[in-house]
């Protein structure tokens, strides 16, 4: 069977600085992969390269999403194909109401896939249902996107978008950063509800804490732009105890 995501020998740089240095990773549908690593290992770069952020130059390797060349697609095409990046720092967009943004994104993806657009009332019903589960106030949906939201609200909003858009591959970039334990539980619960046999996830995190709540099938250690070790979920606990020092040495 074709893997959901196949990254082969990926090398990427930004501003002439090489960040990803021959990264290999295969994620099958139904699997949750955690990627851990020290600061500067290339974790966020990997997430941005997968989502198609401009400014990164791919200097080698390839990324196949369900067998298709992901790197040849624009960010919106990737999203419509089913790639979703939950941002570490979701952006604030004054003047765009959250619900307008959700409707525009949802229907743009439907259009791209040749599906019928959803009417505003139908969409609003779906959004409200998801928002309720995530403890998001209906009033928040009318506010400009992420403007004046707390860190926890922003992450819940990312989870809401993910639940609404129903992607096939979820990339969660440091979803735990800036969250207290209660907010972390709510967000993790939202993510866990999206676990399914068709969906794969890459959970990027510096700390093991998040993985208590979103339990991975596989844990990778990323260092200096490549995967240096792969193991089961117990690897996360080991890292928590020993730290990343040995991997930093290994990379150097």
């Amino acid at each position: 069977m074709t893997p959901l995501l196949e990254i082969r020998n990926l090398q990427a740089e930004i501003g002439g600085r090489k960040i990803l240095n021959g990264l290999d990773l295969t994620v099958n549908a139904g699997e949750i992969h955690a990627i851990m690593g020290p600061n500067g290992a290339g974790k966020s770069t990997l997430s941005y390269v997968l989502a198609g952020k401009p400014g990164y130059e791919i200097i080698g390797g390839e990324v196949l999403f369900r067998g298709e060349d992901l790197l040849a697609m624009s960010p919106d095409e990737r999203a419509a194909k089913g790639v979703f990046l939950a941002f570490q720092y979701p952006l604030e967009i004054p003047g765009v109401a959250t619900v307008t943004f959700l409707r525009t994104a949802f229907n743009a993806q439907r259009r791209k896939r040749g599906q019928e657009e959803l009417t505003s009332p139908d969409l609003l019903k779906r959004v409200r249902e998801i928002a309720r589960k995530l403890g998001i106030d209906a009033e928040m949906l009318r506010r400009p996107l992420n403007v004046g939201f707390s860190g926890g609200e922003k992450k819940r909003n990312e989870t809401l978008q993910m639940a609404l858009l129903e992607p096939l591959l979820c990339v969660l970039d440091e979803t735990d950063s800036g969250l207290d334990i209660d907010a972390l539980k709510i967000v993790a619960n939202g993510v866990n509800q999206l676990r399914s046999s068709e969906r794969g996830m890459i959970v990027i995190t510096h700390y093991q804490r998040l993985l208590d709540y979103i339990v991975p099938d596989v844990v990778h250690v990323l260092s200096a732009g490549r995967i240096v070790r792969t193991g089961g979920k117990e690897l996360a606990l080991e890292l928590e105890a020993t730290g990343y020092a040995q991997y930093q040495n290994e990379a150097a």
Binding site: K53, G95, F106, Q161, L165
Partner: protein, 443 residues
């Protein structure tokens, strides 16, 4: 030969002398008005058309942009009346009271003058001038002293317009829509002048639309003089979408009384050259003025919003926000000058201008000025010029929103800060729709 320095006359300046000389006998008004016109034209003739060496016209060289003078428009015929039917369409669905100023003349027969609310009067400026009333013969009703060549030219040549009064204490629920339209068929100049006097404690909303034929080389010089009485509230929206090669010079002279509230928005979305100048005198204590502008420019359009706010007495507040979206090789200009006179203590004024450049060849010029003579005031200004935020655009695209749609959403958001502040929901929605329509044309 005269030894004094004479400015070299351009073809347009020579043409204007001709237009004035041949038209002045036919212009409305008695001998008092004629004398005011003669003085104004002499004033204009000495200075000539505005050019960049006049500080207030630094970025709009009308002497260069105006290649020739057009004859004053002929009174509209039946064909013109028929063509004017759809004018002012941006606000058509809102049921406002339409007053049509067609090819420079107030066309009462196609205007809605039925069932005037108590306290509302509407007349033609030409008729009012013919009566030589003191209110109008004093500088044709000048409500704010302003020394400006375009205004002087208007005083000399103004033909028609409307004179509206609202009695003290009256609330006019139904907004009044001044529909300015030029149907051609030949290039002409429309010089119009209107006066709106709103009595103390009254409330009224006025919208203006200015439009005309694309590819028709016409010229507009329009003046609105406004008096807002003590404790009155007036909302005014001017929507300018002239034809593609037209030149539009518009002047607002607003005199605002004590504890009054004045909300102003200038929306510019069309015309080859548009100059919108506002002279706002906060003449009474405790006045609040919100002055806003939004220009949406493409191709080689040039739009200049120039603002002079005069805080003349103590305790008034003004907020100015002017934005421009500039595509292709268009150029947006904002000049904003706030004057705080010595006695105007406790003045609170904040001015902001923002330009969004959508192309490498687009240009925005911005010149804020504060002239403060009082010592206990809060005044500030800010200006930004930038491009669309790539990070925000990426965030939208990462959710599946295509490139152009993501840009449109961000531009709408940029515009919404200005348009969204309009109190009247119908006007607000109509202007957001106009913004979306403009974005649609970007392709």
């Amino acid at each position: 030969m005269n030894a004094g320095i004479r400015p070299i006359r351009t073809q347009a300046e020579l043409g204007l002398v001709d237009v004035y000389t041949t038209s002045r006998q036919g212009l409305p008004g008695g001998s008092d008005v004629a004398a005011v016109r003669a003085a104004a034209f002499n004033h204009f003739a000495l200075a000539g058309l505005p050019h960049p060496r006049i500080e207030a016209w630094r970025y709009t060289d009308l002497r260069r942009l105006m290649r020739d003078a057009k004859p004053l428009a002929a009174p509209p015929d039946a064909e013109a009346r028929a063509m004017a039917h759809d004018a002012g369409g941006v606000f058509a669905a809102l049921g406002f009271r339409r007053l049509v100023i067609l090819n420079g003349s107030f066309a009462t027969d196609i205007s809605d003058l039925a069932d005037l609310e108590a306290g509302l009067t509407i007349r033609s400026m030409a008729e009012a001038l013919a009566l030589d009333e003191p209110l109008l013969s004093q500088g044709l009703g000048t409500t704010v002293p302003a020394d400006d060549p375009a205004l002087a030219l208007n005083t000399a040549l103004a033909g028609d317009g409307v004179v509206i009064t609202v009695s003290p204490g009256a609330t006019i629920e139904r907004p009044v829509h001044l529909v300015f339209v030029n149907t051609g068929p030949t290039p002409a100049a429309m010089v119009t002048r209107s006066l709106v006097v709103v009595g103390g404690g009254a409330r009224a909303t006025f919208v203006e639309t200015h439009e005309g034929r694309d590819q028709l080389d016409y010229q507009i010089n329009t003046v609105l003089q406004l008096v807002v009485g003590d404790e009155a509230q007036v909302d005014h929206v001017k929507f300018t979408r002239e034809g593609s090669v037209a030149i539009h010079v518009g002047t607002l002279l607003a005199n605002i009384g004590a504890r009054a509230k004045f909300n102003e928005l200038g929306f510019i979305a069309g015309g080859a050259v548009v100059r919108n100048q506002l002279f706002v005198l906060l003449a009474g204590e405790g006045t609040e003025a919100n002055l806003r502008g939004l220009s949406l420019l493409a191709d080689r359009q040039h739009a200049d919003s120039t603002l002079a706010v005069d805080h003349a007495v103590a305790g008034s507040q003004s907020r100015e926000i002017f934005k421009a979206v500039v595509d292709d090789e268009a150029r947006a200009v904002f000049q904003g000058k706030i004057t705080v006179r010595p006695q105007a203590q406790k003045t609170d004024a904040k001015m902001m201008s923002r330009a969004l450049l959508l192309s490498d060849r687009a240009e925005a010029d911005c010149k804020p000025e504060l002239e403060i003579f009082a010592d206990d005031v809060q005044c500030g200004h800010g200006a930004t010029t930038g491009t669309l935020d790539d990070q925000l655009k990426f965030y939208l695209m990462a959710r599946g929103i295509p490139d152009k749609e993501a840009e449109a959403l961000l531009i709408q958001a940029f515009a919404a800060e200005v348009v969204g502040a309009i109190e009247h929901e119908g006007v607000r929605d109509a202007l957001m729709d106009a913004t979306v329509a403009w974005l649609g044309q970007r392709g």
